[in-house]
């Protein structure tokens, strides 16, 4: 059984302007010790997927369907007592902005110990020792002194290390990292990514890495999910996604990034502008920007189709190609229709 099973998750925000379907039918599994990357542009629903798993949505947001199972236990609709035991203990999260996710009025030590004492039965002294141990684990220099310092006294990279220490203090099974390095400089980003890689090997937790940076994904992830407008368009191993992208959106993304292969050439961007989530088209959400859109793309969602060993894509172009080769193999096709 997979550690985390998300099935047909739907999360909407109810705003004055109408319902925004931020997550629209997302399904995936995560095994122990794996690193799963979720990539997508702003508004694609990648963060909301994570917040839905943790159930830390803004008051206007609501999970309206689907299920999230942790080790077989259903979390959607679970009472707050259970969720409080899950959050920080079984599943932890680190946020994008290390500047605002620490409380400026308490010391680092206080904030670390709070998390530890809340979730374990350690007393103050033991918690303090554990906090120190965690700071050493994430390579914070002079950890003893840091415990007594306030967040403003630390640099951005240092604060993100503290966030990671806090998230890992209770040895969670899953660490959700929501754009953990986006606010950091390149050399600091490299430090943090290396740290996360080391810790993952050492502690063996599963990581859900949410990012828009394909470079970060290539570096860290075993498996990748590509999201667009609230749904998953493609999923596969990192190699499958980067070397044999199947969905037209993923292909477009790969062509858009400057890299060795297209250096000196013109980039081939995806045309058009990102979708307005208040006015979602009926068919494939990417169809209005897709160069290969067919009639059916505008009216119906593509089914999920297996295109490789661990590689799934929801794109009518793949269906058409397969039909032409006489090898239609629809798997879990009803998920997305």
């Amino acid at each position: 059984m997979a550690l985390l099973e998300v099935k047909d998750l739907h999360t909407s925000f109810f705003t004055d302007a109408g319902e925004v379907k931020a997550v629209d039918g997302v399904s995936f599994e995560l095994d122990r010790g794996k690193v799963l990357g979720i990539v997508g542009e702003s508004g694609s629903g990648k963060s909301v997927t994570a917040y839905s798993i943790m159930q830390i949505l803004a008051p206007t947001g609501k999970i309206i369907g689907g299920s999230v199972k942790l080790d077989g236990t259903e979390l959607v609709g679970a009472d707050e007592n259970l969720m409080r035991k899950v959050r920080g203990n079984r599943i932890s999260i680190i946020f994008q902005d290390p500047m605002t996710s620490l409380n400026p009025t308490y010391t680092i030590g206080h904030q670390l110990m709070e998390a530890i004492m809340l979730h374990t039965d350690r007393n103050r002294k033991q918690a303090s020792a554990r906090a120190l141990e965690m700071l050493q684990l994430v390579n914070v220099n002079e950890p003893q002194r840091r415990l007594k310092q306030y967040p403003f006294e630390l640099s951005g990279g240092m604060r993100q290390r503290v966030m990671i220490a806090m998230a890992l203090a209770c040895e969670p099974d899953i660490l959700i990292a929501d754009e953990p390095t986006t606010a950091l400089d390149v050399t600091i980003q490299a430090q943090i990514l290396e740290l996360m890689q080391d810790l993952q090997k050492k502690l063996g937790m599963a990581i859900i890495m949410i990012t828009h940076d394909l470079g970060v994904v290539a570096q860290l992830c075993d498996e990748v999910i590509v999201m667009y407008a609230g749904s998953i368009c493609e999923r596969g191993s990192a190699d499958e996604i980067f070397y044999q992208p199947a969905h037209e959106y993923t292909k477009g993304l790969m062509r858009s990034i400057p890299r060795d292969e297209n250096n000196g050439q013109r980039l081939k961007p995806i045309t058009g502008t990102p979708i307005d989530l208040l006015n979602m088209p009926k068919g494939c959400p990417f169809a209005p920007r897709c160069d290969h859109a067919m009639k059916i793309c505008l009216t119906e969602r593509a089914p999920r189709m297996q295109v490789g060993e661990t590689h799934y894509s929801s794109c009518w172009v793949n269906v058409k190609d397969a039909a032409e080769h006489g090898e239609i193999d629809l798997e879990g096709g009803q998920d997305h229709v």
Binding site: E41, S42, N141, S155, G157, M158, D185, V186, T187, I188, Q189, A190, Q191, L193, E194, H212, D213, L214, G215, V216, V217, A218, Q219, A238, D239, F242, Y243, G252, L253, M254, R255, S256, I257, P258, R259, D260, N262, N263, G264, R266, L267, K268, P269, I270, T271, T273, P274
Partner: protein, 326 residues
Amino acid sequence: MSENKTLLEVKGLKQYFNINLGFFRSKLLKAVDDVSFSIRKGETLGLVGESGCGKTTVGRSILHLYQPTAGQVIYDGKEINSKESLKEFRKKATMVFQDPYSSLNPRMTVSDIVAEPLDVHHLYASKQERTDRVMELLGYVGLNSEHASRYAHEFSGGQRQRIGIARALAVNPEFIVCDEPVSALDVSIQAQVINMFDDLQDRLGLTYLFIAHDLLVVRHISDRIAVMYLGKMVELADAGEIYTHPLHPYSQSLLSAVPLPDPKAARSNKRIVLSGDIPSPLNAPSGCPFRTRCRYATEACAQSMPPFEEVEKGHFVACHRVKEIS
């Protein structure tokens, strides 16, 4: 593309800020400290570095948005040192800002935003001429007349950045300082805007100073690249050269730290991970600013700032030990 004629020359540019620490105490922040370089007509010079290294300040000081503390800015053979020369200069050199959300006035329509430089420099004779020019500019950046009467908040990030670029083009400039113009944009939109910069350069013969922290983007767009660290320029060379053959230890680690969008390369990539953080520019180390994080630092590095020298043709480096370590 790049002709040999030098369009802009910066000599010994210094930009210091007085930081008020309260209670009559203040300290000098050397945001840019003795930076010299030149840009040839029609080329794109990429300027990279991490936050706080002074790259944006260089761009702003060149345009005299800050009055430089010392140094010369020479444009087309004329030094910018008087009010008149500055006024002329500002008709030829403009700027595109990083944040398309805060750099457009929310109370002005798109046509007024784009026409503002025309108004300031009195560059039209009749209202019709102004309108025509605005339409032409919007056409350059892929917007149309329908967009002209709307307000900035009605547009997406990518479209706003296009408006900012149209405004920068209004005075028919030769030189544009692009300060992180694509950093705030999504990948797919970023590629559209990068292509547009390329097209405009071909079409209008523009010269760019392209400031960014995304090294892959900079390599893509630049002919030459300069690397800054803590207010100093540490390396300058052709874009291809600096990527395949960086000489300064900082450039080496900076480039190796870039996460490549390629899993196989990422697995085999030997990263040089720097220890520690960037020192505060208020307490910059003596001598070479990079020495506190440098693998090769010796005592000599603490004594004096290494000179910015041409070690190979067109390849400038500021490092005491460049000959030993390369």
